[in-house]
Structures are given as structure tokens and as C-alpha cells.
Symmetry: C2
Subunit: 322 residues, 2 copies
């Protein structure tokens, strides 16, 4: 019998849902705006219906689903499948999403932190394949991390490990959302990148201004990359600065964890060609010699499917083998 596993990637702006084959391929996918599924009951009905429709599109029923993996940002109670809170949805408190969705669909549902699932996905099917010690860094609005240590996902004592965006790279740096000063996220999260972009515009970065005009006046990491590609010096300097802070954070990570591989994912990783040189230069110069020699740094391969694929990997791990 054909069996498919479903992955749900529950993000702040959109919820991505997909069916994953045993080869790690997303064979069908859908996306819905997070705000359209505001309450837990709406979420369970909406996602349940979407998954059934996806299964039907493959000539299957929901009963053919082997299981569902679900990744959510922020703290998650893995054992009980609880989502403690959703930053963008104030009404969510300790929602037993795993149980609710499992009852709706009649198959097991496993819940984990979204950055952990990205790491699982890249580890099994992406740029982290074959590594026993893998650090997966996700660059976006937040800077998150997932750790594969000695061949298994490492969650820490309470499922909160891998907050790599909250390593301080400069105690005099900008205030971070977490309350601390100078976290990696406060330097290279999207808000920080856009702040650097606005500074560059004020300094008269002409090609960057042109790109902004051509994108309905919107500044974004992608627009800054396009300006860098068009030869804008200030745009290139922004990415060089992002790379330097990233490199400093990576040096700390390499000194602590001695990973075999580091994979850089998330939306901002699209600008990897623009910030990789400065990131690697700082990492190579600053990490201790032994762990520095041991590590390779690669860009993620699964793009925005990593969370869905990783959710399926989670299910396979929980239900014994693939």
C-alpha cells in the first residue's frame, strides 16, 4: 500500500502543508494564511480539511496517512504535543494541537519546534546529509537553530535547545526582542537588515533606491541582494556586515559544538552568495584551529520545503524507521 506522511509548517504568516514520499519528496502541497485559521478549532478543521484534500489529490484517503508532523515556532511541549503560545495569535495558550489534530484525522500527530524540523529535513535529504554533528541555522525574521548531535536531534532538557540567534555577539549591540543586547538575531535578523538598508538609502545608495522603486517602494533582503548584484556598494557592505556578525556567531558555535557541518537556511539564505565570503573569513580566523578544520559550511538545499520534509522525518523517527 502506498503510504504518505504529512508535514505541517506552522509559520507566523503562512501555514504550509504537504505530503512527503519516502524519498523525501513533497508530492503535493498547499499553503494558507495563518490569520485565516485564528482559533485552535479553526486550525484543526482547516488543516484537517486541507490534508484530506491533498490525500484525495493523490488518490488516497486520510486513513492512508501514516502520520502527521507539525512544526511550530517557539516553545513546544513535545511529549504532550502542546503549543504553549503563538507570537502572532494571542488567544493560543497551551493548545494540545497534537491530540486535537490526531482525533480529527485518525492518525498519529507529532509536534516539534520548527527549527528542529528544518534541521531534520536538511539532515536526511538536504545539505546536511550524512553528517553526525550538524548545526542548522535558519535566517529570517528570527534566527533559529536546530542541532543534530551524534546522529540524533538534540532538544535539551526542556525542548528549548538551539536558540542560536540568542548568542550575544556584541554586548553593546542593538537591543534584541529577547531583552538582551547584541544577540546574533539583533544583528542579522530581517529587522536589522532592513535597518541597515534604510541607513544605506539615507546615505544615497542609488541602485538600492532604484530597486526599491521597482518593487513598489518595499525594502526587503531580496531587494538589497538585487541592488548588490547591480553593483551597489552600500548594499554589498550591508551583506558584508551581516556576514561578519554571522561569522562571529558561527565561531562560538564551532568552538562549543565542534560540528562536522553547518547548514545555513531560511529566507535570508537566498543572499548567501553576498554574505558567505565575509562569514567564512571571520569563522576561519576566529574559531579554534581543531574544530575550525573539522567544519564545512553549506547553504541549505531544501528551500522552504525543509520544514515539511523534516516534519515527515519526525514522524518516521517516532513510528520506528522509515
Amino acid at each position: 500500500m502506498r503510504a504518505l506522511t504529512a508535514g505541517v509548517d506552522f509559520g507566523g504568516t503562512s501555514i504550509k502543508v504537504g505530503l512527503v514520499s519516502r524519498a523525501g519528496r513533497v508530492v503535493a502541497r498547499q499553503q494558507v494564511a495563518s490569520r485565516d485559521l485564528g482559533s485552535p478549532a479553526q486550525f484543526v478543521q482547516g488543516i484537517g480539511g486541507l490534508l484530506e484534500a491533498l490525500a484525495r489529490s493523490q488518490g488516497l484517503g486520510a486513513r492512508h496517512l501514516r502520520g502527521v508532523g507539525l512544526g511550530a515556532p517557539g516553545p513546544v511541549d513535545i511529549g504532550r504535543g502542546l503549543i504553549h503560545s503563538m507570537v502572532n495569535v494571542p488567544s493560543w495558550h497551551d493548545v494540545p494541537l497534537g491530540r486535537l489534530l490526531s482525533r480529527r484525522l485518525g492518525c498519529p500527530v507529532f509536534v516539534d519546534n520548527d527549527a528542529n524540523l528544518v534541521a531534520l529535513g536538511e539532515w536526511r535529504f538536504g545539505a546536511g546529509r550524512g553528517a553526525s554533528q550538524l548545526v542548522c541555522l535558519t535566517l529570517g525574521t528570527g534566527v533559529g537553530g536546530g542541532l543534530i548531535l551524534d546522529g540524533a536531534l538534540y532538544r535539551g532538557a526542556g525542548g528549548a535547545a538551539g536558540e542560536l540567534g540568542h548568542i550575544v555577539v556584541d554586548p553593546r549591540g542593538p537591543r534584541c526582542g529577547c531583552g538582551r543586547r547584541g544577540c546574533l538575531e539583533a544583528h542579522i535578523g530581517i529587522a536589522a537588515i532592513l535597518r541597515l538598508g534604510r541607513q544605506a538609502l539615507r546615505k544615497g545608495a542609488a541602485r538600492l533606491a532604484k530597486q526599491v522603486r521597482e518593487h513598489d517602494g518595499e525594502l526587503s533582503p531580496r531587494v538589497i541582494s538585487l541592488a548588490a548584484a547591480a553593483g551597489d556598494t552600500e548594499a554589498r557592505a550591508i551583506w558584508a556586515e551581516v556576514g561578519r556578525w554571522l561569522g562571529a556567531g558561527l565561531a562560538d558555535i564551532v568552538n562549543v559544538l565542534n560540528p562536522e557541518r553547518i547548514v545555513i537556511g531560511g529566507g535570508v539564505a537566498g543572499a548567501w552568495p553576498w554574505f558567505s565570503a565575509s562569514a567564512l573569513r571571520v569563522l576561519r580566523a576566529e574559531a579554534m584551529p581543531a574544530p575550525e578544520r573539522a567544519v564545512r559550511v553549506l547553504r541549505a538545499r531544501l528551500g522552504n520545503s525543509a520544514g515539511i520534509v523534516g516534519a515527515a522525518v519526525l514522524v518516521w523517527g517516532k513510528s520506528g524507521g522509515r
Copy 2:
């Protein structure tokens, strides 16, 4: 038959050797100056002889030794029992100490990094007992670390994990021995503490000056603690500063690893009552809420026996059970 396991703690100034009972007790011990065993051949003869003498003191022969664990500072090739280099002994290069000592004694010898063995010792018999995720920080001339993650020693891809002293806490801070600026070790290693002590003396710290005079003119962390106990404001300020930097480093560690427990050991941990308050205050204020709530920070319990006891734990783990 009574079986004892031997531990060797190979430090920069002294080599400690002991026999460890199955209950983790050091039943006999000896110490020799590192410089007296300069060459690898001298080391093997000297340590071999010491271990035989210790066994005899217990009414046993060397053939009753179940195995020997040996901890050395710096990078170690665990699989081949190789010591790559010894900072204080320039003639050591890739010495197969495990094999040489094993041949001399006729029992298995296992080699590992000294900070890893301290962590194993505190985990099995000290302040880390029962913790599944344990970070053991060793404060001394260097600042080292050993990691127990998900119930096993974590060594990383090349045995170099846990370089916790080389997390940068201030990129504008003092130059570190590793070449980077502002590492934790550059702020709270003994050299940094003594620098703060000399500054305090220049500022006229009277009770500190008195303690120095009473200790043959020698400034040391212990002398600074005695001055703090005698009410010296500057001495107390030194420890408060050490604690603040330590707390900042601990916050990074807690955010990355979400440990259940952190154990603070090494010679400088003797001053724990003087720097714990500021360390814990900064840790509690700066770490992310979820991992912050999950962690307890304790002073190490095994003192300078931790390395010997941990070396025995290493042997038991390698040879299957205790």
C-alpha cells in the same frame, strides 16, 4: 576479586594519579611534577611505576588493574590514544600514550581530554549526578568545558567540542591566547583575574595588599578571596566582575544547549561564594525564559579528584558497565 581502576590527570604543572573504587572513591593517590617526566618514555616509566606502587599499597599487583583512564589538556585523538601536543612540553608530538602505557602495564588504557573527564566524574559521582544534560565548566588558567548531552559525553566531530572558554563575551575585550578578542577565558582565566588584582592594588586596596604580604608577596585567586572575606571592596568588585562575565557566557551556553544542570569546577571555583551571586543574576536576566527556568547551577563537588574519578568512569564506559 577486587578490581581497581586507575585515573591519570595529566596537567600542565602536575600529574595526579589515583586508584578509584567502584563507588567512585579515590582509595590511593600520588602526584608528581610534570617537568620531572619530560619525555614520553620517562612519562611511561614514571607513571607505570607509580601505578604499580599504588596497586601494591592496596595489596594488589598491576595485573589487578582493570584499566587506566588518562586525561590530557588540549586536543587528543581518542580513537588512537594520541596526545597531539603538550603546551608545556615542546618535544611532544603525536605521542601514542595510550598504546605505550598499555604495553607497560598490560591493561587497557583510554585517553581523553581532561575537561571531558572532569565532566564524567562530576556527572557520575559529583554535583552533576542524575542530569541528562550537563555542562561542566572548569575555571583555572584556562577555561574549559565538558558536555554530557542526552546521557552521554559529547565530543563533537573531532573530539574538540566544549571549548566554552572561547565563546566571545565582548568583541572589544582583551586579546585571548587563542588569538580572538574577548573570549570568556580572556575575561575570567587566572591571568585576567590577576590583572584585575594588580589594578586593585594600584588603586590602593589595603586589605588585598595585606593578604599579598602575608602570602610571600604572591597574588592569587585565593588571596583575592581572602581579601574579599576580610571586607576588601576592590577584591569583592573583582569577583563581581568575574561573575558578570561568567553569567554572560552561561547565558549563551544555556540558550544553545538548554542544559538541566551546570557545574562550575576548577581551582577558581573555590571563590564561588564570591562570584556566584553576580553570575546567577546575569544568567537569570539574560538567558531565554524557557531554558533559564530549566537550569540549575551548582559548584563542583569532587574538587581536584574529578579528573581521576572521571578517568575511571571513562574506563568503565569503554569496557562495558562498571
